[in-house]
Symmetry: C2
Subunit: 360 residues, 2 copies
Amino acid sequence: MSFQTVLIRGTGLLGASIGLGLRAAGKAVWLSDPSGTAMRIAEDIGAGSPWPADEHPDLVVVAAPPEATAEEVHLALVQHPEAIVVDIASVKGSILEELHQIQEGLDLSRYVGTHPMAGRERSGPVAARGALFTSMPWVICPHETAEASAVAEAEELARLLGASLHRMGPAEHDESVALISHLPQVAASLVASRLQDAPGNALELSGNGLRDVTRIAASDPNLWVQILTHNASAVLEILYGLSEDVSRLIGTLESPRAPGGQADIAQLIAEGNAGVARIPGKHGTPPQAFTVVTVIVDDRPGQIAAVLNDVAEAGVNVEDMRMDHSAGHQVGMVELSVLPGRAEELAQALTHIGWKVVLT
Amino acid sequence: MSFQTVLIRGTGLLGASIGLGLRAAGKAVWLSDPSGTAMRIAEDIGAGSPWPADEHPDLVVVAAPPEATAEEVHLALVQHPEAIVVDIASVKGSILEELHQIQEGLDLSRYVGTHPMAGRERSGPVAARGALFTSMPWVICPHETAEASAVAEAEELARLLGASLHRMGPAEHDESVALISHLPQVAASLVASRLQDAPGNALELSGNGLRDVTRIAASDPNLWVQILTHNASAVLEILYGLSEDVSRLIGTLESPRAPGGQADIAQLIAEGNAGVARIPGKHGTPPQAFTVVTVIVDDRPGQIAAVLNDVAEAGVNVEDMRMDHSAGHQVGMVELSVLPGRAEELAQALTHIGWKVVLT
């Protein structure tokens, strides 16, 4: 029998979005937050109703910032002796450690750590949406003494919100996110921070490469301080390697004509080729499984729609799409990724209709 | 009177694309390449005809790899004593240095270095297209002794191909591209190279953040060895700073509870916020000038076209577009960037028609 009543402690972007999604799934949702404003916004957008302090929920979702999570989980376990307690902080090992520090020998059988990987670039309940987790990974990270029934409820929560379920131990989770989430964030911030004092002339040459690499550098500093410090050891392991790689590249560039120097650089770029090829694409397929068909369009309302309409007429599914643009121009390129077997027929169909098409 | 006959030395992606574009603009184009295969492909796709060695062009475009560029420019200046000679290598200072090394006191008045910033991620004449340079930046980098008439011809070349013209000295150019092109490439390769031995479970959690940061890591190793070694001093300046920043972050994470530690991390992320905000968006506007309207769609042919059709009906121009997807799911999110003043009306119009819309 799955949970029917839920208390969400913390009504920021993620807490409020969970509330919206669970209410849409027919669950009773109570909210609590130390900030009266955040609470009222979450209530206003329909994420749930204020928690009547005498009520005991079946499930408590702790959606507090990472630094407050352990304390909140502990409180929830004590206040609701029958409830399953789940947290959603983006680090897992340090939360467990803190729980053991708060109370030695604490019974954690009703607690399960989880991590929904969504919505990190915006914040606050105003940005909340019930579909935030749709098709996004949600990692369930049971510790050694977690009850099977508690794990099942945590999985039910993720499933109800439409997420894609993954299961890992807390240490495996922390090492994984250090690599695929925390390292890219650090790299993006490091690159973007060097643009602060760049001359405007240089920035005018910015292309999609720079835009892509730095996009997530717009993230929230306060959240990332907590994430990085709470996952310090896993992040450090990776940064030691990164630092060595940077030093080696510096050494090579300081004497680029030295024997093996050029081979070292070629190897770095080739290793990057190999690494990026391992990132799964949509539907788990590798990114190079798609062929790009580029269409040149005028930059006015309806042009992109018109292209995609004609693509749909041709019966070809667009797997991914990008717009390639440059400052100051009124012409754009729409890059359509399609299955390789469909690219040529699509290019022909679009050319026939009169589009300027490039198949690469 | 602008040039009428052009010799393109080097028929890779860029050389062949320039040939296609110039022929479309009504110019006579001759081609030469040390590789007979590359030559024949370029000829087959219509980029020009083989160079009859007794003919003298008005303009020579050297489209050789960076390491062969200086030699080719020198040859062209000697072989064609009346022609303007332009190169398109993505580094400029080192080419000039090499030219002075090849022949002391060489008259370089007819030579102008340029850099079209396009098409670096693919290679070979098969990928060529005349519209490759449309609306992309093309930097004209006259050295001190370049004749005004030579600079005018270089600009005419870029203009004919539809590029957006920029003018900088060679040193300013090299420092600019080190920052906005070479640093992002190095960062993407460094991050991607660490994925080589990552467990598959970790990679399954990959999101758009990782995909964005590593996309350009798929670039050609041989080309990048040449670019980085030819621009070593400007790239080194930046890498010294990057290396210091990484060391400082490591120091902070090694003792995250030390005084000021958390503030250091927050500052790095905040500086990244400030840097990324300076990158011009489409039409030179800052990226945050747009509001994102997110539409949830099924992943089948025609859905995205249908959305954009309805957007066009609403009379709203889409300034940028992204698809948000995760491995293994059949539902996607289309993020439409529109002018802030149009976002709410668009969201209402789409909701009214029946789309699931989120305004963030």
